[in-house]
């Protein structure tokens, strides 16, 4: 118990309580101080713990108290630290800290300042609980908590109708995913009578590898459903682009670096189970691949800078799932780490651009910011280079690990992946060139962001470039086995060439010959319009699911059953009662002789009844 793991999540919780309860009364500086120090202290405590547990070959578990003890089932409030958790916790607290600092500048003149930081701290608390949890139920608590915080933060500017709608959409879609997750938890309880990771995986050894759809595969698929909801994969990704309604630091922290990666972490954590259910694992890879390719195509034509990066996140998450799905868990996690760096940087850069243009997000109105916001320009350049997979950048190392693993798993996956990588490079640089090259097309007078914003950008830029050299796969070896040794240079060369081709095309389209994209768009107007409208997925969902459910409940449940059946019967009884009442009331005709008749009638009846019986 000496490492006191509980302090890591407790600190952000304390920050939340202070800001949440006293926030309005504290000056802005105090609020910022409380928020940032709580995350910083948490980060330091993580460092102390990780260094303290250094060899960390086995999972280090701390049990605090029995949360649920029913019959033989014991679910404790226990936290756990092993190598995977260490990586996740470092990323969450590290990137989180940088984003907190950035947010201090970005949200400086926003009225809900204290409320914003309170929510951010609460989010950190839930994310850390999710990552540190030693059993599925506590992880589920974190899972729900982050969902709640994402709802709160997306709809932070609740006066805007679109923000609240986006918040609702995110929350509901997440709930659909969580539905799958909870079913999986129930199955685990039924089959293993415990939810503790260690015990579950220990009992797994007795189970055979399932080639048909057995319980393990079912659990795997349900967990995958939960993961797609949280990490915005193909069926349930629709909420992430709309989540851009929230402030940019939120998008950076939650919808890029930490929350969306929870799904990947969960799949990685249940690796032993997935290894026993190859079909489920295959499904993970498929989902990942489809999402990566599909989201990349949509990203090509988006005009809102944040929407472009949103689809890029969906696509990169697809890569992570692809990595994990093809058995290369270490590669998946490695990409998760590097992605956290450059995607956070991309979003924060975009935030800085928006800040500079005082709220303008449309790429077509930007341009020529190279001279006006040099810091942002250079840091964003590093991020773009890294995500495009230019050799020796962080993105290059992690993405190629995944693509190589995909090739060994199934060659066609490699080619689709590489094509998607090319598209990624294209749309990132399209946004980059549109924003920073050519003349400034807007009316405002852009200005560079203050130091408090550009410093985190610089730090992240450094990490995006040098991130590749952090030995994440090596570090995760005891958990997931050795990374695939065969580094086939040919595959690497092919994927790099695709990346560079993407960059060149982007340069050609948007710097050299700006009229080209317009001409191309008119020629293939049909395809262009469908892709621009996100393949009308939202509209399809609306028509297929939302409308029937809402209409059904209104006409059938509410009008049909509730009104006709229940109300009618209740009112009916009341009306009958009044009817009887009225009839009885009429009994009092007011005539004495009627009354006498009643008395006599009563007497006769009584006499017959009592007298008559022998």
């Amino acid at each position: 118990m000496e490492q006191q793991l509980w302090i890591i999540p407790a600190l952000p919780l304390a920050g939340f309580l202070v800001n949440g309860l006293l926030g309005r009364r504290l000056p802005k500086a105090a609020v910022t101080a409380v928020a940032i120090t709580s995350v910083a202290l948490s980060f330091l405590w993580v460092l102390k713990t990780v260094t303290g547990l250094m060899p960390l070959d086995a999972a280090y578990v701390e049990r605090y108290f029995d949360w649920i003890r029913v019959g033989s089932l014991r679910i404790g409030c226990d936290l756990m630290m092993d190598r995977l958790t260490a990586v996740m916790v470092l990323v969450v607290t590290g990137v989180g800290l940088l984003i907190h600092i950035y947010a201090a500048g970005y949200m400086a003149h926003d009225t809900g300042y204290a409320r914003f930081f309170a929510y951010l701290n609460l989010f950190m608390f839930f994310m850390l609980t999710l990552v540190l949890a030693a059993n599925y139920l506590l992880m589920f608590v974190g899972w729900e908590g982050v969902g709640l915080c994402s709802y709160l933060l997306i709809g932070f500017w609740f006066l805007r109708k679109s923000a609240t709608n986006a918040g609702n959409k995110a929350f509901i879609v997440n709930r659909v995913g969580d539905f799958g997750f909870s079913l999986a938890i129930f199955l685990l309880v039924i089959n293993f009578n415990t939810l503790d990771f260690g015990e579950v995986f220990a009992k797994l050894s007795g189970w055979p590898v399932e080639n048909t759809v057995g319980t393990l595969t079912l659990v795997g698929l349900l967990l995958l459903l939960g993961a797609t909801g949280k990490s915005a994969q193909v069926p349930l990704y629709v909420w992430l682009p709309d989540a851009m309604e929230g402030p940019t630091p939120v998008s950076a922290l939650i919808h890029a670096a930490t929350m969306v990666t929870a799904g990947v972490y969960m799949v990685a954590r249940t690796a032993p189970l997935y290894l026993k259910a190859p079909m489920a694992l295959e499904m993970v890879a498929l989902i990942g691949l489809v999402t990566a390719f599909f989201a990349a195509t949509i990203g090509l034509v988006q005009n809102d800078i944040k929407k472009v990066f949103a689809y890029s996140t969906v696509s990169q998450l697809g890569y992570m799932f692809l990595g994990v799905g093809t058995g290369a868990f270490a590669a998946g996690i490695f990409h998760l780490v590097t992605h956290a760096f450059f995607k956070a940087l991309l979003f924060l850069g975009a935030g800085s651009v928006i800040h500079a243009l005082s709220g303008e997000q449309d790429l077509r109105i930007m341009g020529g910011l190279r001279k006006k916001t040099p810091w942002t320009f250079w840091t964003l350049a590093c991020a773009s280079v890294s995500i495009a997979g230019v050799p020796f950048t962080a993105g290059f190392f992690s993405k190629d690990e995944i693509l190589v693993a995909a090739y060994h798993h199934a060659p066609w996956m490699y080619w689709v992946g590489t094509l998607a990588a090319g598209m990624t490079a294209f749309y990132v640089f399209r946004a980059f060139f549109l924003a920073f090259f050519g003349e400034y097309r807007g009316e405002g007078h852009p200005h560079e962001s203050p130091a408090v914003m550009t410093l985190p950008l610089a730090a992240l830029a450094l990490l995006s470039l040098a991130g590749g050299f952090i030995p994440v796969p090596g570090w995760l070896e005891p958990l997931f086995g050795a990374p695939s040794a065969h580094h086939n240079p040919v595959l690497v060369a092919v994927s790099v060439s695709f990346g560079l081709a993407g960059i060149f095309l982007a340069w050609l389209f948007y710097v050299a010959r700006p009229e080209l994209p317009g001409a191309l768009a008119t020629r293939f107007s049909g395809i262009y319009r469908t892709v621009l409208n996100k393949y009308y997925v939202d509209e399809i969902y609306n028509a297929a699911i939302v409308k029937p459910v809402v209409e059904g409940s209104r006409s059938l449940l509410w009008k049909g059953i509730d009104v006709e059946l229940i109300d009618a019967s209740v009112n009916g009884i009341a009306a009958r009662a009044r009817g009887v009442g009225d009839m009885l009331r009429r009994m009092q005709s007011g005539y004495i002789r009627n009354y006498a008749a009643w008395v006599l009638l009563g007497a006769v009846v009584l006499m017959l009844a009592i007298g008559g019986t022998r």
Partner: protein
């Protein structure tokens, strides 16, 4: 000739009871209704005396005297109320007395 037994008296009193009860129902005038009630009370008296003779003890007769006294008291009060009613509504017809209803 068979002697007159208690049952004869019972039958007589039952008849009187019936007449009295029907009288209350049929007759319109309240005074007549009052009279028919007195009739029933007298039927009761007949019964009491018959049973008293049957059991050869005095309880029945004592009871009869009390019944008579009570009947008088009732009649006095009843007529009093009737006069008050008559003063107000100038009618003794039972059917016109029907403001209070439902």
């Amino acid at each position: 000739m068979h002697p007159i037994t208690t049952t004869h008296y019972l039958i007589l009193s039952a008849a009187l009871l019936a007449i009295g009860a029907v009288g209350v129902l049929i007759r319109r005038n309240i005074i007549i209704m009052l009279m028919s009630i007195e009739l029933i009370l007298n039927a009761v008296n007949i019964n009491l005396i018959a049973f008293s003779r049957h059991y050869q003890d005095v309880i029945g007769q004592v009871f009869a005297i009390f019944v008579i006294t009570v009947a008088v008291a009732e009649a006095a009060v009843g007529l009093g109320i009737l006069i008050a009613l008559f003063r107000n509504k100038a009618t003794v017809q039972a059917d016109e007395v029907e403001i209070l209803k439902w």
